[in-house]
């Protein structure tokens, strides 16, 4: 009975924690601009993250090695360093985006300019990270994130039965007034938002943090196979609400404030309160996760002790990296660079960098010296390999599309 409750809690935590600032921005912007024509990318991305997270969770549980341990062991120090620099930079952008996003949410509640909140929130995130126990932190914020389900309720009110939403999903390709290049560029952003690398760094390191063993693999699978797709449905709800309210009015989404309009329209202040609360919690969790990921990646590359499962003084360099990264991210946010713009760049670059970390994990998930008898099945390998190809295509296409569309303008 306790085990079932644990699994249930894990699923809800994964569900509530799935959506972060990247998903909010990507799904709202895409819904407003392309209706539901890119919904298939969200589905593609969710399947991708499920495969990726399950493999890295399994590897971490059975070998006690986090993602970057594996990256370095398989690719060697040089390639792993290139990998580290790229991953660290993108992760750094993501931290800035999440902290900026938090500040924007507080601005919506108080009316006071977001820049004033950035340093305070940076400190708040760090304090929670420093003091709160890992599993409590994850559950508290993950479950609170579930408040964003009001978006799904709002969509139901806007489009009862979801008839319009579903039929809109069947259209493929850009609308007549948009180009395939922009369509492709937004697709890459959506994919990057759904499959963000930091989620995997955090997930696999978390498996070691929580001392997972072979017995926990099924809990891992439940969280991932059920929790993440539910999170994906929430992403689609955000896209659908945006599509229903904004697309017909010619409104393009470029501010976080607009994301709350569909919920306000249908559910008034109560709905909006739930949404803002949920957004705050989920983005806060993401800020913690990306900050820790900065430490995980660097520490795992160099072989330093990492993790919140040891006292801070036992993992001094790890915590130093986390602090420095957060400080840098706060400074970046304080340059008044629009957090939404930072988010847009972080998700697109994240998509482009995915093969770097996905490939070693795919190889190691097949290595009996790491995972014993629990290597990938043939079916899983077939799908996982197909994804490797997809991710390589995405990686190659990203910079050209970024140039052609001038950053999705």
């Amino acid at each position: 009975m306790k085990k079932i409750f644990e699994i249930f809690l894990g699923i809800l935590t994964a569900f509530g924690g799935f959506v972060d600032i990247g998903d909010l921005v990507a799904n709202s912007e895409t819904g407003a601009r392309f209706g539901m024509r890119l919904a298939w990318v969200v589905i593609l991305g969710v399947i991708g993250i499920v495969i990726y997270a399950e493999m890295s969770g399994r590897v971490a549980a059975l070998s006690k090695r986090g993602v970057f341990d594996v990256v370095r062991e398989r690719l060697g120090a040089r390639w792993a360093l290139v990998n580290l620099l790229a991953s660290f930079f993108i992760n750094f952008l993501t931290i800035a985006a999440e902290i900026g996003g938090l500040a924007l949410v507080i601005e919506l509640v108080t009316g006071i300019n977001y820049l004033l909140w950035v340093p305070l929130l940076g400190i708040a995130v760090w304090v929670v990270l420093w003091k709160m126990k890992f599993s409590i932190m994850e559950k508290a914020f993950g479950l609170s994130g579930l408040a964003m389900i009001v978006t799904a309720v709002a969509l139901w009110r806007l489009d009862p039965g979801l008839g319009n939403t579903f039929s809109a999903m069947r259209h493929f390709g850009p609308t007549p007034d948009e180009t395939w290049a922009t369509y492709g560029f937004f697709a890459i952003g959506l994919l990057g938002a759904a499959m963000t690398p930091y989620e995997v760094f955090f997930f696999s390191s978390g498996a070691v943090e929580e001392h997972w063993t072979k017995e926990d693999l099924n809990v891992n699978r439940a969280n991932v196979y059920i929790g993440f797709p539910l999170g994906g449905l929430l992403s689609l709800a955000i896209m659908g609400a945006s599509a229903t309210v904004f697309a017909p009015r010619g409104i393009s989404v470029s501010h976080l404030s607009q994301v709350g309009i569909p919920v306000s329209l249908t559910l008034g202040k109560v709905g909006l309160a739930f949404l803002l609360f949920g957004m705050f919690a989920a983005i806060f969790a993401a800020a913690i996760e990306t900050s820790l990921s900065a430490g995980y990646t660097v520490a795992q590359f160099f072989g330093w002790q990492w993790g919140t499962f040891v006292r801070p003084r036992q993992a001094a360099r790890f915590h130093l990296v986390v602090i420095v990264s957060m400080l840098g991210a706060v400074l970046l946010a304080l340059t008044t660079l629009d957090p939404i713009k930072i988010t847009e760049y972080s998700i697109v670059l994240a998509a482009a960098a995915l093969p770097l970390t996905y490939f070693p994990i795919l190889v190691v998930a097949n290595d009996p010296t790491y995972v014993g008898e629990k290597t990938n099945s043939k079916a899983l390998n077939a799908v996982a390999f197909a994804y490797l190809v997809i991710l390589l295509v995405v990686a190659v296409a990203t910079i050209p599309l970024m140039i052609i569309t001038r950053g999705g303008a």
Partner: protein, 242 residues
């Protein structure tokens, strides 16, 4: 001598034909005893050529069968690779390894399982099983990575692995180029003046190797701990609740 002197060296046969860059070095555990680890590891052969990347990824083993296309690709290419046992080596110079035989007389490359079949001890791939692995102390705390290996040539026999080299001093040489030089210079300036060269962990304190390398000494006693100690004392200890 370091392992990186062998890896990345170019392999030439007796006629001077370039056989490619050495990508991996296989070790056999058949040397003199060296502490809890048992017999020391000695160089058995080098694997060269572009196909040897598969060795680094682990596709040398028959047990690595997935994903299908990758495994098939690397397994098929292995037959076209070059591998030479240490007895076929005549000289090691700056960046090159010369063989005593022409390329045509080298034996067909075997898989690591085949080599294990007729070897006197455990056969491992230095690149895959030893290099870049996490070092863990008896308390389960992480103590760095295997950044390089120190090899010693003994009485005309194959080089023996005598120590693990860890930390920026060793990593600098692996990375090479300007970045490596910068890292080496920084390490020289910041390290303990008594310590010569990179942090060295004698193989005598290695308990075993698997998905990690287990040590018999606590990490605080290793040279690699210096930087961690400094950060701990000067930065982290100052923060409340550490």
């Amino acid at each position: 001598m370091r392992l990186t002197d062998l890896l990345e060296a170019r392999l030439f046969d007796v006629e001077g034909v370039d056989l490619g860059t050495i990508r991996d070095v296989w070790l056999v555990q058949d040397g003199p005893p060296i502490g809890p680890f048992g017999a020391a590891l000695r160089v058995e052969r080098v694997v060269a050529g572009s196909t040897a990347i598969g060795s680094r990824l682990g596709y040398e083993r028959a047990s690595m069968t997935g994903p299908g296309p990758l495994a098939a690709f690397f397994h098929s290419r292995h037959a076209h690779g070059v591998s030479a046992t240490w007895s076929e080596v005549s000289a090691l110079e700056e960046g090159t390894l010369r063989l005593r035989l022409p390329a045509g007389e080298l034996e067909r490359p075997e898989s690591i399982e085949e080599v294990q079949g007729h070897a006197a001890g455990l056969v491992i791939s230095a690149g895959l099983d030893l290099l870049d692995r996490q070092l863990v102390d008896p308390e389960g705390l992480m103590a760095g990575n295997v950044d390089d290996l120190e090899l010693e040539l003994r009485d005309g026999g194959p080089p023996e692995v005598v120590a693990i080299l860890a930390g920026p001093g060793a990593l600098a040489r692996r990375l090479g180029g300007r970045l490596g030089a910068w890292m080496a210079a920084a390490h020289d300036r910041l390290k303990d003046p008594d310590q010569e060269g990179p942090a060295r962990i004698s193989f005598g304190v290695v308990a075993g190797i698997g998905s990690q390398v287990d040590l018999t000494v606590g990490r605080e006693e290793l040279d690699t701990f210096e930087f961690e100690r400094w950060v701990r004392d000067h930065v982290i200890a100052k923060s409340p609740g550490s």
